[in-house]
Structure formats: C-alpha cells, structure tokens
C-alpha cells in the first residue's frame, strides 16, 4: 500500500477545493446519501433538460478528502452528458472501483479516464471504498427519483 496512490495531487486539490459545491435553484432531481459509520453525507442536485441532458449539477455535504474529491470529479464529469451516458459512466466507475483495473466506456475521453483513475487508490483501502462511491450511488438515486436515502451500510 502506498499513501501516494491514495492521496494523489488531483485528489488533494479536489478534496480541498471541491468543484460544484453548493446548491442551485432550478434543480429537478436530487437525492441524499450518507455513511452511517462515519457521519459523512452528500446531497446531489441536478437539472435534466427536456433532452434528458444534465444541464447543471452540484452537491452539498461534508466528508473526507476522498469523498469530496470523488463528488467533485463526478459532478464535473457528468455535466453536459445525457442521462444514458451518465448511467454508463457510473456503472463503469463503480465497476473499476470494485473489481476491474480499468475503465472501458467509450464515452469517456482519455483525460477524463485519467481523472477517474486517480480514485483507484482506494481499492487498496477496503474501508475507504465507500468514501469514493457514496456520491455516485447518490447520483444514481437522484436520476431514478428514488426517495430512499442512499446508505453505505445495510
């Protein structure tokens, strides 16, 4: 295990200065997620337009560098993409964090893949995987209009 894999510059940067942090007025989908083990929580807001495209997205919440960076990178990445594409990216990302060593979606550009792969360090830290995945599960929940609060523990 190497801490440098976990705390890469890009993670520290997004963790310290998360992009898209806050809430905007005309969102039409949102969902909450929390991690009862550590008390971290996230609230994702997004606006899907008539063409099912993510017009805007933001999040509120607090958490460790990994969870804040993950939410920050995620929101940056899905803005402007269609719902179907977003879902494909979410599946690809969660698959990479859980079992695969790579991202395979064609929707992602190379630099986007590099950004997402910066979160792959958590694979060596099983207790920290949910820090990286919480906001992504919450995004799915928002898209599916689920009223259920996403929890990392059952």
């Amino acid at each position: 295990m190497d801490l440098k894999d976990l705390y890469q510059e890009i993670i520290l940067d997004h963790g310290k200065n998360p992009r898209n942090l806050g809430k905007f007025d005309n969102y039409n989908k949102d969902a909450k997620g929390n991690n009862p083990l550590c008390g971290d929580n996230v609230h994702v807001y997004l606006r899907l337009n008539e063409n099912k495209k993510v017009e805007d997205i933001a999040f509120e919440g607090h958490g460790c560098a990994i969870s804040m960076a993950s939410a920050s990178i995620m929101t940056d990445m899905v803005r402007g993409k269609e719902e179907k594409e977003v879902k494909e990216i979410v599946t690809d990302f969660l698959g990479m964090i859980k079992e695969k060593d790579f991202l395979e979606s064609n929707i992602l550009k190379d630099d986007e893949k590099t950004k997402l792969m910066s979160l792959s360090g958590v694979k060596q830290y099983p207790m920290r995987v949910k820090c990286a995945t919480l906001s992504w599960h919450t995004l799915t929940s928002a898209l599916d209009n689920s009223d259920q609060i996403v929890k990392t523990e059952e």
């Binding site: 801490l3 705390y7 310290k16 550590c38 008390g39 460790c64 804040m68």
Partner: protein
Amino acid sequence: MNIDDIKREFPIFDDKIQNNDLVYLDSANSSQKPRVVVDRIYDFYTKEFSNIGRSVHYLAVAATNLYEQTRVSVQKYINAKDKDEIVFTKGATEAINLVANTFGQKYLSEGDEVLLTELEHHSNYVPWHFLRKAKNIKIEFAEINDNGEVTLEAIEKKITNKTKIISVSHLSNVTGAILPIKEIVQLAHSKNIPVLIDGCQGAPHLKLDMQDIDCDFYAISGHKMYGPTGIGILYAKKKWLEDLPPYQGGGGMINEVKKEGITYGELPNKYEAGTMATAQVIAFNESIKFMEKIGIQNIEKHEKELLDYGLEKLRKNNSVNIIGNPKEKGGVISFTIEGVHPHDIATILDEDGVAIRAGHHCCQILHDKLNLPATARASFGVYNTKDDIDKLDEAINKCKKIFNL
C-alpha cells in the same frame, strides 16, 4: 510497575502489523487481550468444556463452578454487596437494553421522562428511544458545557417531577470527561429517582465501588477491560433485580414451566436465559485478576501520565484542535486537524502502524452539538507508552505534510 513487562503479556505486540510495530491507541473502542485471557479460552475449550448449570456430570459441575467464580470475582472487584447483583450479558449494550426494557415495562408510561446527557454513546440512547416509540415517553438531555463536561447543575436543571430514571456515562468516550456520578446519584436519590451508570469507559480505568457510588445500575463491557468480546456485566441492586420482570425468556431462567403458566428462577438465573458466553465469562476472571495484579490505582496513574504527556504534546502541534477540556478527564484525546478530515487522518496514521479511531464514535448527538461531523480519537490502555504518543505526534506531522499544511 514496568510497562515493558506488561506490554509483553499482550501477544498482539509480538509481531509486526503490516511491517510496523503496533501503536494501539484505540482502547476506548476495545482493549487488546493479555495472554492469560486468550489461554484461558483455549484451555477451557480443550480441557474443561461443558455447558453449565444443567447436567450433573463432572465437567458440567466444574464448568458451573468456574462460571460462578467469575461472578464472585466481579462482585469483589466492584465491591457489590451480593454476588446475585452481578448479571452476565453479551455486553454493556445488552446490560442497558435489559434495564431500559424491564424498567420501562414496569415503571414508564406516557409523558414520563428519562434523563440522559448530550455525551451519551448511542447504546445509552437508542434503547430509551425504543420506549419513546412504544410508550410515548420523553427523553431529556442534560447539556454539556464548553469544556465537554456534564456538571451536577446541568443534570439538576433537567430533573422534573416526571423524571423516572437518570442514565448517564461514567466517562465520556469522546471528551474523556469523568462525570460526578456519586453526586448525581445522591441528588437523584434525594428525589427518589434511580440511576443507571454506563460504565463502559469507567470500569477499565477507574476504581469502582458500587456500595460507595450507590447507583442502582452499572453497565460494564468486558472487552474494554482486557477481556473477551461477547461478555458484559449488569450490576443492579438486588431490590431491582427481584422487582423487575425478566428480560429474555428461555432455558435456565425458569423455575417451573407448565401449560397453564410459568414461574421464573431465582437470581441471578432470572436474567441469564439460554446458554451464556461460558468460555468468555470464565476467561473474564483472568482479566479481573490481571487488572488486580497491576492494581487499578497504578493503571489510573499510568494513564493519567500518558494523558498529560499527550495533551502537552498535541497542544504544541499547530493545527491540532483538542476536543473538550474537562477538569476530570480519562485517557481519551479526541482531536481534529484543520484542513484534514478525521478519516484521512486515521488512514494516514495507520500507514505507520498508529491505530486510532475516526468518526462520530457512536455519539452523534454530541458531535451535532460540537458542530463536527467527525473527530479523530486516540485512547489509552495500560500497555501504552510515551513513545506511542511520540509516534502519534510524528504521524500527525506526516499527515500535515501530505495535505500541505
């Protein structure tokens, strides 16, 4: 006492953990186990095992005697009046649930109040919340002050003529505050209110004398006292154990069972339904002996020295904020580092073998009050040294470096 000798009695420190010497600063969560306790479990299962209290064969009688010997050891250790005042449970959580459930059944009804404090562990809140749901009782919380303490006055302020029971921690697992439990009991008793003390953090670190404290109930966790998991103790005054209804039903807790009705067994069997954690109870006797051999006064003194050293060291470390500043404080230091989330702290410290806890430590009410989602916590046991604290301090500096602080 020689800490190096004591530390050698704990096999966990024999080997490296992920190539590091283990710096174990998570004893408030659970303590490590001395060899005598581990060996006792092995020996019992390999040479002496039988279920207790039922059969008449040799092993059953011997096992029953061993099990009951622990009861007497605990009674003496906490200076309870009678051995029947010691009930074995699966942990302090079950001990508190037992009281909430049985006392609640018999003595609480709509509008009655249970008085807790803002620094309670979830295990001393959730069981009472069940009653709030089931019986529409009210739960009041005595407030913490800026030092992270709960004073006698704070308790007094929340007592009303509806208060039916007071349930408070002996020692906070977050701020380390030691509550004035004897005074709280005196005050409560002057108003005919019984008191339960959650002694999870008190029992491993402070001298206990039930007859002196005079509380009605005291909950103890075995695994925080250098003992096995799966065992806790409820101390309760005999009058309560005789008066309250049974908690769980099953074998062992009955007197006579007929189709028309059932009568319950005598104390302490009344509260020990089913096959208990026999090996753990028997091994817990070794934990008591281990602590007695060192002497609780020596443990207290050693941990106080560590605490003073740790507080001094961490206060000098820029950007470390220590949570709470109680006058009477046990060996717990909760802290935050400006700009680093506690979970990141814990992961980075772990890389150097420094094991701490991060999160809300099962005290969300307290963390909400402090307006902190999480804190990092270093807590001490008898095996810790000043060197451990130096390593903690160094690892915190590494943390700051990674986060460019």
